[in-house]
């Protein structure tokens, strides 16, 4: 090629050759991800669906769904899951918004505050459950010690075994663990609101509540929907924390859908019934995530 131009030899060069095969190369690049998705999402989902309609003789039928709908424990667990999710997500939003506003503003040691506020979120689910179980332990727990030292109670409270306190304790631990996620999302949203809007509102005489009401909240609308949808999906699936703290007890008072699916499948060996329950849970999750999906599609 010395002294002769590449064009003169008819050599089209690597870039052009690549451009010619672009569609094929594109498919090649996405193929590993597609194969992975099929292996870890599509295949298990189809297997679960098939199991859920497999009857003892190997025939297909929807009897397991019939059993599910007539099982009072299933409906009790659906109600409990709904209560757990609504309470957790609401508290996550309130606390997350408060924390996001705090760390976005001019608080002292803002960097440190951000790191500390994020800590609960980086703690693995099961570890958080075990830590809270110890905090709430009626014999050795630090919370009862503090309450008794402050003379707020005269007997240790049975946080995880009292029928009313156990669900509340679970929600309390879950709120602590989950609010930083909402905080991070809302913080990103807050930082994307143009400063000019606040300045204009101030010039118009808007106070801090009015600025929050008419600038911050409208500016956060989309991010709030995203946070709400994602948090709801995650809380419906919450497993490790519940399993580690109460195991669904006392009795079945803190059972949620994910712990029930686990029990039916791995402890009671009811593979088909557990699969039907998992499919029902997926349908529920799809319904919950529809507004989020619709919003994303509208944006696109």
């Amino acid at each position: 090629m010395h002294g002769v131009s590449r064009a003169a030899t008819g050599w089209i060069g690597p870039r052009r050759a690549l451009r010619l095969r672009e569609p094929a190369v594109g498919y090649l690049f996405v193929a590993p991800a597609v194969v992975l998705l099929i292996a870890v999402l599509v295949y298990p989902a189809l297997t679960t669906l098939r199991l859920s309609v497999t009857l003892p003789g190997g025939q297909l039928g929807v009897q397991h769904y019939g059993q599910l709908l007539s099982d009072p424990l299933f409906w009790q667990v659906v109600r409990q899951t709904a209560a757990f999710v609504v309470a957790s997500v609401s508290a996550h939003l309130l606390l997350g918004l408060g924390a996001a506003l705090a760390v976005a503003g001019t608080v002292p040691a803002r960097g440190l505050f951000r790191v500390v506020a994020l800590l609960p979120w980086v703690v693995p689910d099961v570890v958080a459950g075990i830590v809270w179980k110890w905090i709430l332990n009626p014999l050795y727990g630090v919370l009862n010690d503090l309450l008794m030292a402050g003379r707020l109670v005269d007997q240790p409270l049975e946080w995880l075994t009292h029928p009313s306190l156990a669900p509340l304790s679970l929600i309390l631990a879950n709120v602590w663990r989950g609010f930083p996620f909402v905080m991070v999302i809302l913080l990103a949203g807050l930082q994307s609101i143009p400063q000019d809007l606040y300045e204009a509102a101030s010039l118009d005489g808007a106070g801090s509540w009015a600025r929050f009401r008419f600038v911050t909240l409208p500016g956060l609308r989309k991010v709030l929907v995203v946070a709400l949808a994602l948090d709801t999906i995650w809380e419906v699936r919450r497993f490790g924390l519940v399993q580690a703290m109460t195991g669904g007890g006392p009795g079945t008072l803190t059972e949620v859908l994910s712990t029930q699916v686990f029990k039916q499948y791995f402890q009671f060996y009811r593979f088909e019934y557990a699969s039907a329950m998992a499919v029902a849970m997926t349908v529920l999750l799809l319904a919950v995530s529809l507004p989020y999906v619709r919003m994303i599609m509208q944006e696109e």
């Binding site: 332990n137 009626p138 014999l139 240790p156 049975e158 669904g248 007890g249 402890q267 009671f268 009811r270």
Partner: protein, 433 residues
């Protein structure tokens, strides 16, 4: 350009070959076996097992054992998933109630051909009962491991401090209740109870049946009718047993608060720190409690006695089995390892380290087992011991009971209502069969 591309490809091919073949070249003839056991996560047992592995490897240089620790509660779920993916560890340990399910699922290799090769007398060293229990459809599917009866473990110092004779443990359930009341005390005079007579792991955990069954059975009750087709949880005997257990926590208040969240280890911690005086346990109790708090001087302070008797003298038996994966690539090596784990020498070591009783008669006849104060009682009580029902539905049936127990203890339901609901649920479970 093309030449350098070719060179690059050649280098890549060589590198890939080296990377692929290197482990095989390094390993030579060494066979690697994956070995999973929940005891690997425990201080005392874990050490003992790792020592045994080292001994085995030194005698079998061609076999390398890779320990895979797992939690007690997680093992069935993980092994099932691994079995379905044909990735189950080569050798695992399970206890009797889940063994039946693994046999049914085809998650255990048939050990009969290996045993037959060892000769006609090979199994004669074991008790007949464990061998029979691990035989499924005429084939031996697991080799017996520990075989123990559940007994009453108590703290003689706390007995003495409460004015009770430490050499005379309770023999009946009424006596037991009376002892437990006297052992529930405020020991530091601050007006609050800080020592309880009895504790049990009443959370939903696989250790609960072993502690509950002796009580239920000794009241003359059972979970199922003799033909196994109906629930027997509505019989007067069962109601009496259930009420007795519930009232230990609700009326007598001889159990620590939060009993429905306790697992077996919580109860051991309570015993190690003198917070409770009595518990139901077995051979493993003393070494674990001793490891938690060596200052307790568990060997001296703790005692074992038969579980109190009601209408009949009966207790629950613990039996574990060593399983070979049906998908192992090295069945001969896996069998050699199982044979080593169940040999007289290794079982003796396990006794010395962990105080677990072997299912081998020749080990239990050794003077060190016969002279040990815990083992003597545990071996003696084996004649009154029964295994948990080996039914596929047993975990779900017992879950119905545990749910009722928790509901009654925490006051979520009156005990009669909780038990009736459990009975109805068990009837539903059995109707599906």
């Amino acid at each position: 350009m093309r030449r350098s591309g070719g060179r690059l490809a050649a280098v890549a091919v060589v590198a890939a070959l080296v990377w692929t073949l290197a482990p095989a070249i390094r390993a030579g003839e060494v066979v690697t076996l994956r070995f999973s056991n929940w005891h690997l996560v425990e201080t005392v047992w874990g050490r003992s097992l790792r020592e045994a592995i080292r001994i085995f490897e030194s005698r079998n240089p061609g076999i390398r054992i890779v320990p895979e620790p797992i939690s007690y509660g997680e093992k069935e779920a993980r092994y099932q998933a691994e079995c379905a993916a044909r990735r189950m560890p080569d050798v695992v340990k399970l206890h009797n109630f889940s063994l039946a399910m693994f046999f049914e699922l085809g998650c255990a290799a048939d050990l009969t051909p290996f045993v037959q090769k060892e000769g006609a007398d090979f199994l004669k060293s074991w008790y007949e009962f464990p061998i029979k229990s691990l035989t499924y459809k005429g084939r031996l599917m697991a080799m017996p491991g520990d075989y123990m009866s559940m007994v009453l473990i108590y703290n003689r110092e706390l007995f003495r401090a409460a004015g009770l004779d430490p050499n005379r443990p309770p023999r009946t359930w009424e006596e037991f209740r009376d002892y437990a009341r006297r052992l529930t005390r405020d020991t530091d005079g601050d007006g609050r109870v800080d020592q309880w007579g009895f504790s049990m792991p009443a959370s939903k955990n696989p250790g609960l049946p072993l502690r509950i069954l002796p009580m239920v059975w000794s009241f003359g009750a059972d979970f199922l009718t003799p033909d196994g087709r109906r629930s027997a949880m509505n019989t007067p005997e069962f109601r009496e047993a259930f009420r007795f257990i519930v009232e230990l926590a609700t009326v007598d208040r001889v159990t620590p608060p939060g009993v429905t969240t306790f697992g077996p280890q919580d109860v051991r911690i309570q015993m190690a720190h003198r917070r409770i005086a009595m518990k139901i346990g077995s051979g493993w109790t003393y070494p674990i409690v001793n490891a938690i708090n060596p200052q307790l001087n568990a060997a001296e302070v703790l005692e074992a006695a038969p579980v109190p008797a009601g209408r009949r003298r009966i207790t629950a038996a613990w039996l574990s089995g060593w399983i070979m994966s049906p998908h192992t690539a090295h069945p001969e090596a896996a069998w050699r390892f199982i044979k080593f784990l169940t040999s007289k020498e290794t079982e003796k070591k396990f006794f010395e380290d962990n105080r677990v009783i072997s299912s081998r008669k020749d080990v239990n006849l050794l003077p060190l087992v016969k002279m040990d104060k815990f083992s003597r009682v545990i071996v003696q009580e084996l004649q009154h011991a029964r295994l948990e029902p080996q039914l596929k539905e047993w975990p779900e049936i017992f879950d119905a009971f545990a749910t009722a127990l928790q509901e009654a203890i925490t006051g979520a339901k009156p005990w009669e209502r909780a038990l009736l609901d459990a009975h109805t649920r068990v009837e539903g479970i059995l109707a599906r069969r």
